[in-house]
Symmetry: C2
Subunit: 226 residues, 2 copies
DNA sequence: GTCTATATTCGGATAGAC
DNA sequence: GTCTATCCGAATATAGAC
C-alpha cells in the first residue's frame, strides 16, 4: 500500500567502474602521467597487475574517460549549432546541458580538459572530437554576433572563455560537496551576461533555451532546465 | 649621425634561461610528470645530465617557474584587496596586470595553474602562495558585492570564473602568435561585464582602475593600462 | 659547461598459480 | 577475478673525464 521508501536502485559498483572513478580523481590531481597504475590499483584496493584484467593497458582507462566526457558533448554542440532559434538561447542550452552532465558525472573529468595529453598521438581520435566540439561552440557564438545577440568579440576568445568557465567551476565538484542544482543555470546566466549586448534579456533567453527540443541527449532528462 | 637601427638590447639568453623556457612549454603540453629531463634537454639541445649543472634537480625547474608566476601576482592581489577605491576598479586592475604579466612572460605558464601538482608536498610553499592569491581575489569580489558594484553571486564561483578565464585565454599565447596589446583590457572588460550590476559602468571602472597607483609591480610599467 | 658512463629507482605490462 | 613473481624499459640523478 505504501510506496517503496526509496525507489533508488541499489547501485552495485563493479571493480571496473571503481577503477574509472579512482583513476579520474588521480588524473585530475596529478595528471595522466603523474598517476601510476600502482597508485590507481592502491586507491581501488587491488594489486597493480589486477588492473589489466579490466583494461588492456593504462591508456584504455583514460580513453574511456575521454569518450565519456567528449562524445555526447560534441554531439549536442553540433546539434545546437545547426538548430533553429536564437544563437543566445542555443548557447545557453549547451552550457546548461554540458555543465549538468559534468556535474552529475561520477568521474572527476578535469584532467581531460586540462592536459595537452589530448595532443598526443595515442589519443588522436579524441583530440579530433574535442576540436569538433570547439568548432561547434565557436559557430554558435559566431552566429550570435552576426544577428546582434552578442557583443562584437573575438570568437575564439569567447569560446575559450566558455571552456575556462566550465573547467574551473567543475573543479569545485571534486572537493566533495554536492553542487547546488541551480548551478548549471547560474553558470549559463553568468556567461551570457558577459556576452549579450543586452544583459537584461537573460530571462527570455533562458526561457527559450529550455524549450529547445530534440537534443541527442546523454541520459533521460526529466526537466529541461530548472 | 643616424640613430642606431634598433636600440633593442641584444638579448643573450643563457642556457639556464633556455631550460626554463623549453621546460615550461613541455610542462604545459604534457604536464610536469609527463615531461622527462631527457625531453627538456633535447629541446634545449644538450645532453640530459647537463641539466644538473644548472638546476639541482627537476623539481627546481618547476619551482622557479612557480615563483615567477605566483609571487608577484599574489603581492599585487593582496595590495589591491587592501587598497582604496571601488572594488570593481581594483578587480579590473588586477586582471589587467596579471593578464599582461602572463602574456608578456617568456614562459608558457599554463601548467602551473592547471595541475594539481601544486598540492604535492614538494611544492607546498607555492601551494600556500596560490591560496593567498585566491583569498585576496575573493576578498575584492566580496567587497564588490557588499558595496553593490557586483551582482549577488557566490564569491568562490566568481573567483574561479576569473581564474578559468585567465587560464584559458593565455592558452592562445602558447600557440605562438603574439596576442594583441589590447587583450588584457579586453579580458578585464569581458569579466567585469559579467560581474557588474550595471555593465554600462565599465568605462568609468576602467578609467578609475588605470589610475590606481602604488602597486608592488613586477616590472617598470610605462603605461598603466592601454 | 658539457660530455660519457652508469647507478638506482620506478612504471607498465606479462606469466602463471589459486 | 585476484594474486605473486618478474621482465623490461624509462626516468632521475651521480661520477668523473675533457
Amino acid at each position: 500500500m505504501t510506496a517503496p521508501t526509496t525507489p533508488q536502485v541499489e547501485e552495485t559498483i563493479t571493480t571496473r567502474e571503481r577503477i574509472l572513478r579512482e583513476a579520474s580523481t588521480l588524473f585530475a590531481a596529478r595528471g595522466y602521467y603523474g598517476s601510476s597504475t600502482r597508485d590507481i590499483a592502491a586507491a581501488v584496493g587491488i594489486q597493480q597487475p589486477s588492473l589489466f584484467h579490466h583494461f588492456p593497458h593504462k591508456q584504455a582507462i583514460f580513453q574511456e574517460l575521454l569518450s565519456y566526457s567528449l562524445d555526447d558533448s560534441a554531439a549536442v554542440a553540433e546539434y545546437l549549432a545547426g538548430a533553429s532559434g536564437s544563437p543566445a538561447a542555443r548557447l545557453y542550452r549547451f552550457l546548461v546541458e554540458d555543465f549538468r552532465y559534468l556535474m552529475e558525472s561520477p568521474y572527476d573529468l578535469r584532467s581531460i580538459f586540462n592536459s595537452g595529453v589530448l595532443e598526443g598521438e595515442e589519443f588522436e581520435p579524441w583530440g579530433r572530437t574535442a576540436r569538433r566540439l570547439h568548432v561547434a561552440v565557436a559557430e554558435i557564438i559566431r552566429q550570435g554576433i552576426e544577428v546582434g545577440d552578442f557583443i562584437e568579440i573575438d570568437v575564439n576568445f569567447a569560446r575559450q572563455a566558455v571552456s575556462g568557465l566550465m573547467l574551473e567551476t567543475i573543479r569545485e565538484r571534486s572537493l566533495g560537496e554536492k553542487l547546488p542544482a541551480q548551478r548549471p543555470t547560474r553558470t549559463a546566466d553568468f556567461m551570457l551576461r558577459a556576452l549579450l549586448t543586452d544583459p537584461d534579456r537573460i530571462g527570455e533567453v533562458a526561457t527559450e533555451a529550455c524549450a529547445i527540443e530534440g537534443l541527442p541527449l546523454y541520459r533521460d532528462t526529466t526537466t529541461a532546465c530548472d
